[in-house]
Symmetry: C2
Subunit: 449 residues, 2 copies
């Protein structure tokens, strides 16, 4: 114990904050929490998947201010059961089908808990070398599984970093691309930079462009069509860019998507990258949902051409059994990121950073402080192994195929676009709705509206 503690005790302080992590009390309460969560998983199917509460329900149930005196964990857990769980939409339920899959796993959970236990703030190498080094080891492992070229790996000339979400990955790469282009054309031309995506690209791109100070009027959501499965075509991109260049604007950034949010459309990276190359633009691949599937050899073709892009990201918290948040971003030129995002201060100086032999991830992201996120990803990779992980993903795709067959064999419904991964876009046919204006009754008696 530190040398200050004898004085501390001598003076009879009534509150010893060292006790806030008292191991025996930690053990007692920690086991209670594990049992609470295990019971929650056991009872999950008893709850309605979508929370049924009304707006402002909780403020009515809770006190108006912080209690003055401590409350025991038993009371708090009772309140969580009574007041919080009814307000949860159960993302981990096997019956949850909104947004993206509920892909929590024991390994992902344990990894998050371990990193919470260590509670290190790994902004630079010295602040906890293991946090940085496990991240670059894990990102290289995962990059290899995806068949990313050496130019994206630390063992090659690039590198990977774990961001919180795709929004951050897009913002970081967009800022790097913006500054790279402005270094060529002059900062006074910022208002001329143009950002490209398709009308299926996630709204994260427009938001990132706004945050980065780029002009909304220079944002292009290029039209896609159902007949070509909502893919962004290289021709449309080229046509749009030409018009912009003729108007004196400067094409700067394209975000291509592998597995769009609405229909899991796949933009053709190889042909798009041929266009961006001509204009010296940055091309980022947002594979937030579908990237994980590309660890299976039979789906790897969806990211063919990845060797030609500048950056590539996917969310391990979406469909890779890792709890929120865990967005894996690889870049070919880490220097482009760090040129835009590095921060320095007297209080951050240390020999390891000065030696330039270490990675300081604070310079690869928006924030300075960062959690030890690689722990959960490493636990997922080791606890399941490559073969199982592939098979988990395949089993999801197989379920989706089976569901697709069911939809296709029922003439009240139609599948809207071809299924690529584990999501089926389908609808009730307008003709069915006309016939059965109050909804269609399925054979098993369920009503779908």
């Amino acid at each position: 114990m530190g040398s200050l503690y004898p004085h501390y005790e001598e003076e009879n302080y009534s509150f010893n904050t060292a006790n806030l992590l008292n191991p025996e009390e930690f053990r007692r309460q920690g086991h209670m929490i594990i049992d609470f969560i295990a019971d929650y998983y056991q009872n999950m199917e008893k709850y309605p998947v979508l929370s049924q509460v009304q707006p402002d329900y909780l403020a009515q149930l809770l006190p108006k201010s912080t209690p003055n005196i401590p409350e025991p964990i038993e009371t708090i857990l009772h309140d969580i059961q009574q007041y919080i769980i009814p307000g949860i939409t159960h993302w981990q339920s096997p019956n949850y089908f909104a947004y993206f899959p509920s892909s929590g796993s024991i390994a992902g959970f344990l990894g998050e808990v371990l990193s919470t236990g260590f509670n290190v703030v790994g902004f630079n190498w010295i602040s906890s070398p293991a946090a940085t080094e496990l991240e670059f080891v894990t990102m290289d492992w995962l990059g290899q599984m995806l068949g990313l070229p050496q130019s994206f790996l630390f063992s090659g000339t690039g590198g990977g970093v774990i961001q919180g979400t795709t929004c951050e990955a897009i913002l970081c790469t967009l800022v790097a691309a913006r500054d790279q282009m402005l270094a060529k054309v002059g900062r006074e031309n910022m208002g001329k930079l143009v950002i490209y995506g398709s009308d299926q690209t996630h709204c994260a791109l427009l938001k990132a462009a706004k945050v980065a100070g780029l002009e909304c009027k220079n944002f292009r959501a290029i039209k896609t069509m159902r007949s070509t499965a909502f893919q962004l075509s290289a021709e449309s991109l080229r046509t749009t860019i030409r018009l912009d260049v003729e108007a004196g604007l400067i094409p700067a950034f394209l975000c291509a998507t592998i597995g769009t949010t609405s229909t899991t459309a796949v933009d053709p990276i190889r042909s798009l990258s041929e266009v961006t190359k001509e204009y010296g633009m940055w091309i980022h691949v947002d594979a937030a949902y579908a990237g994980s599937a590309c660890i299976c050899p039979e789906y790897r073709h969806f990211i063919d051409g990845a060797e030609n892009v500048n950056s590539f990201s996917f969310n391990a918290h979406k469909w890779f059994f890792t709890t929120l948040d865990c967005c894996c971003l690889w870049v070919k030129d880490p220097g482009a990121l760090t040129k835009s995002l590095s921060a320095s201060a007297e209080f951050l100086k240390n020999n390891a950073s000065d030696s330039k032999q270490v990675v300081d991830y604070k310079d690869w992201q928006i924030t300075l402080s960062r959690r030890f996120r690689s722990m959960k990803l490493w636990l997922v990779l080791r606890s399941y192994g490559v073969e199982n992980l592939r098979n988990f993903l395949r089993s999801h795709v197989k379920m989706a195929k089976r569901f697709q067959q069911l939809v296709e064999s029922d003439n009240r419904f139609e599948v809207v676009v071809p299924r690529n991964f584990a999501m089926v876009s389908f609808r009730v046919l307008p003709t069915t709705l006309k016939k059965e204006p109050n909804g269609c009754k399925s054979e098993s008696g369920n009503i779908c509206k």
Copy 2:
């Protein structure tokens, strides 16, 4: 269980991913992890606080690629003990004195674990009403404890949001301030906006300005002096602003700090806000470290004048017993944030959002997805209560006072600036270093260099 499962089982899928959260296996492994972390806390003082590893140590110890087959949790925990813990700099150690205090607590840990267990992605209200509502209840509780005026609370006309870190809080408010000013002066004037801080302001401000596309040449780190305890004076600010305005520039944003990183200097909010008001600028208060102390009536005066600022943030993960990350940000005009940061898409539409009766926190921050961070803050508030929380902070300050006395009573050292909170800025006197060029030997025989 969902209606798809019978088919699933019929077809003899070899991998049932539902098992990835099997409650009994979860319980077994969960209890192991709690014991592992409890043992880590128990043994913490056996480890050197600062990790002693050399750069690239971990890559040498770990395999070059992901294992093909699963590895048991026992093996992984063994490796964490052998390979990871030596690479940890122990932020939770009672002997850790770098950067900011290691203020983890059992309640903070449990809250984080619960939110990991629920693993909800609370971007909007409907995605888990409890996650949103507990956040605004908790932020109001905490705002009251700080004596923030009603204009910052949901129960008044403002509101609070939990960001990851201060970097995000500054970036969000800076972007809102930028857009608010550009709406007045025209977007073509973006290159004229000026951002102000002191030479003691955290590097997060410059980084945020760069990300937001503002000009580095329009960034003012106003000089402070030791004789005035490194405070930013209203006069210096006014002088600097006047010069900028004369040069045709547009003052847009001031970041004032309560408890700077290097010396815990306190900028005088009231007098600074009188200056910013004259120019219609946004003033943000970064109380990252010292904000928590202001829940004690005797320290509340440090944020006098808070009613005049636009936004106020402090990190509960710094000195408020909450694990990383948990930055509490209050704003007077939530509309200013959401005008700049809202994102919409077909797949996000829902009746609750359309009704405008709910808060959708995705529009208050950089990212769309967000963790259920209020859970840990709520647990900290309830588990300890207002009186204990105040006393914990007071006990830290008391320890610092005692340390200060020890330093002051030793003529080889000096205290550099007056102590405000629980940090003492001191140095070995240059004269001591001259006398004892190999370091000074203290009476107890410790060498300090």
